[in-house]
Symmetry: C2
Subunit: 434 residues, 2 copies
């Protein structure tokens, strides 16, 4: 093969960066055949240059900006996180006419628009399959395979840490803290697990999914977010009694309000999911995304959502596509024209609620509790009352679909109700038709 090599710079040499560098070396002949020209690793940006990084020391540099500006670099792979200095490096690369592959979900959830515009101006590619759900192809199906269809809804389990913790709680009956401790011990949770357990990571991914599914700029700040730290073993017991389990869902939806205006809703919260729903059986550190489109119906994508090798697979797929475009002188699909739908406020979203509360055990309580729902037009689907060891009783209510505003008001009223000692849990119920 006599084609001019394609020069690659890798920013970051963590799990993913090391794996990408390894694949570029070890699969060189295969990659060259697929691309039509060899890939050549021209440099790797690291925080600290040393000779124990598993790569020739002359490839290493701690000067990111210089590396992404080099003339012999055609493609930049950014896997260093966090938002800065990655944002600046990517912009420099794009402005310099280099295509960029990134796995940086926090950055994308904040700056997709800015980055996409820079890529558009420079007529180069910006790919980010690895930013959502690891090796599972989700971005390319949404942007390309469904390009002629209308996406209605995307709902996924896109955070492996929380899914591991919830799966543990479900299968062993453990409480949140001990399931988190297990996850940490196994390396599934970071020392500071906040980004995962409070839903920030899932919200960043929801922002990216909503942006590409609905051709609308959605940032992480637009995403309604609740974490999993308050989920109790009792919630799992109730879920089981209702034929459900509990999952942290990232949901992006096209909603039409009572004013006829189409809006985009993006939200992350733990929800009860019926065991018959495909997402209910996605356990441990696995990820899955369900896409509903007008013509295609319901599609599901399932696989390993994290880890060096799976994430590197997604990066390499993007890298090969960007390199092929480079060789052929073409480029991948440009950014779609944006529909720019407004973001839907949470209050207009219709969901079902599961409310668990401790009440004083005396006649008439159930009826007066039920009245609080009825007063706000919230219809009850199911009620269960259990006497407890001490004087109280536990009431679990599952509602039909109602607006989030009406449901929140109901819960606020219950908290003030004199027979209600405590509202223990409020969770939404997803994946059912009524």
């Amino acid at each position: 093969m006599t084609e001019k090599a394609i020069g690659v710079a890798v920013l970051g040499l963590g799990n993913v960066g090391s794996e990408v560098a390894r694949i570029i070396e070890e699969s060189a002949p295969d990659l060259a055949a697929r691309i039509g020209a060899p890939l050549e690793l021209r440099g790797v940006a690291v925080r600290r240059v040393s000779d124990d990084r598993g790569l020739p020391v002359e490839l290493l540099t701690d000067n990111v900006e210089e590396l992404v500006s080099r003339e012999d670099v055609d493609l930049v792979v950014e896997v260093m996180g966090p938002v800065e200095p990655a944002r600046k490096a990517i912009l420099t690369a794009l402005e310099g006419g280099k295509s960029v592959v990134t796995a940086n979900k926090a950055l994308l959830a904040q700056s997709t628009g800015e980055l996409a515009q820079a890529a558009e101006r420079a007529h180069v590619d910006l790919y980010f399959e690895a930013a959502v759900a690891g090796a599972i192809p989700v971005i390319r199906p949404l942007t390309q395979s469904l390009a002629g269809d209308t996406v209605l809804r995307v709902a996924g389990i896109v955070n492996g840490t929380t899914n591991y913790i919830l799966s543990e709680m479900s299968s062993t009956g453990a409480d949140y803290s001990s399931a988190l401790a297990d996850a940490s011990a196994l390396g599934y949770a970071e020392a500071d697990p906040t980004a995962d357990v409070e839903g920030y990571d899932a919200a960043a991914k929801a922002a990216i999914l909503a942006s590409i599914a609905f051709h609308t700029r959605v940032t992480a700040d637009d995403v309604y977010r609740e974490g999993i730290t308050k989920i109790t073993p009792e919630d799992f017991d109730s879920a089981k009694a209702l034929g459900c389990t509990i999952k942290l869902l990232s949901i992006c939806e096209r909603v039409t309000g009572s004013d006829g205006q189409q809006r985009v809703s993006a939200r992350v919260y733990p929800a009860l999911v019926p065991l018959s729903h495909p997402l209910a059986n996605v356990n441990g550190a696995f990820n899955a995304v369900v896409v509903e489109a007008e013509a295609a119906g319901r599609l599901m994508f399932y696989g390993q959502g994290a880890g060096g090798a799976p994430t590197a697979s997604a990066v390499m797929g993007d890298l090969v596509m960007a390199a092929r475009n480079r060789v052929q002188g073409g480029r991948g699909p440009r950014e779609s024209k944006y529909a720019q739908l407004p973001i839907a406020p949470m209050g207009i979203i219709q969901t079902r609620y599961y409310v668990s509360m401790t009440v004083t055990d005396r006649p008439g309580v159930l009826s007066s509790v039920a009245a609080e729902f009825a007063k706000r037009g919230v219809s009850i689907a199911e009620v269960r009352q259990e006497s407890m060891a001490d004087e109280g009783a536990r009431i679990v209510v599952v509602t039909h679909r109602a607006t989030d505003a009406a449901l929140s008001e109901t819960v606020a009223a219950l908290a003030d109700h004199d027979a209600v000692q405590e509202v223990n849990s409020v969770l939404r119920l997803e994946g059912t038709s009524e």
Copy 2:
């Protein structure tokens, strides 16, 4: 928008063609925004031109060759089947510099090489996402998302008719004929169901999947094939007792023989699948494909595998991508260099077997039956013997992994064994690790 319109010709006006024509009309503004230029339907090829086809009669023509040669046609959508005259029309279109989107699996399973070369010579796109598993993105993930990874195995349920029949048999205990009758009554099976129930359709799809997954030309004739017509309710009973169900699988695998040579195996047969395997829970007319790749691990894609709307969704995705390439003056990825691995003969493939036989009920039979397996080096994992109402007994044997050659020889010897009245069923067992 002042861009020049992209002219589209649709060949065939069945379920899929009508739906494609409808989406081109009804989603015109949306499609134009995504493509950067409007799509315009320039003509539709039908067998018989008449004014009751739901489209202006001046768009219709029965002259396919003339339509695909028209100067104002940039893109051709072929959804008319069968192999001819589709093959000739597609070649004319490609040679005339038009990009082609086709859903014609029978044609692709026979002529991918010829068509891909014609597209390559003309520097145009040939897309065929709709040919395998309807709206489920499988082709694009394999060719693009996993372009930097090494695919090890693809196993899927890609025929909705047989999956409906097998799901029926499993859930109701019906026999094959009445489940087929149900499928026909519901429109899931054609008047002549041979292509589905004998596995020809699944084999064509396996050929396409194997070709793109392993960069090797595989035609339908290279695919080992068994249908589902001999599956009995007793097989489902045995499967259940073993914690399994029965599915018609299309399997494509990279295998390394004892000679160290890498080969591609493509095969279709009904197999026992453990209930814990993701494919076991794919029921009714749904399709699913599991892909195992070196870095990505195991991925699953799930959705509606057939029907006018889902198939049209896949066609429209390809159409938008081809149109975008047209507008930008680039084109999609060219065909990969082909690895051209040889096809593996079935005899060297290692699988597990389930063998059910009726034997004479006398002492020593089980031992002499087991000896037939042992003689050929086939290790037995599980045996169950049941006395039957009349004089015979039923023996079910599940083997460990062994070559298909050794297993076939064993079955032939059992058929000749004097204590074996009949070998009732021979099925493979997939989806387990030993």
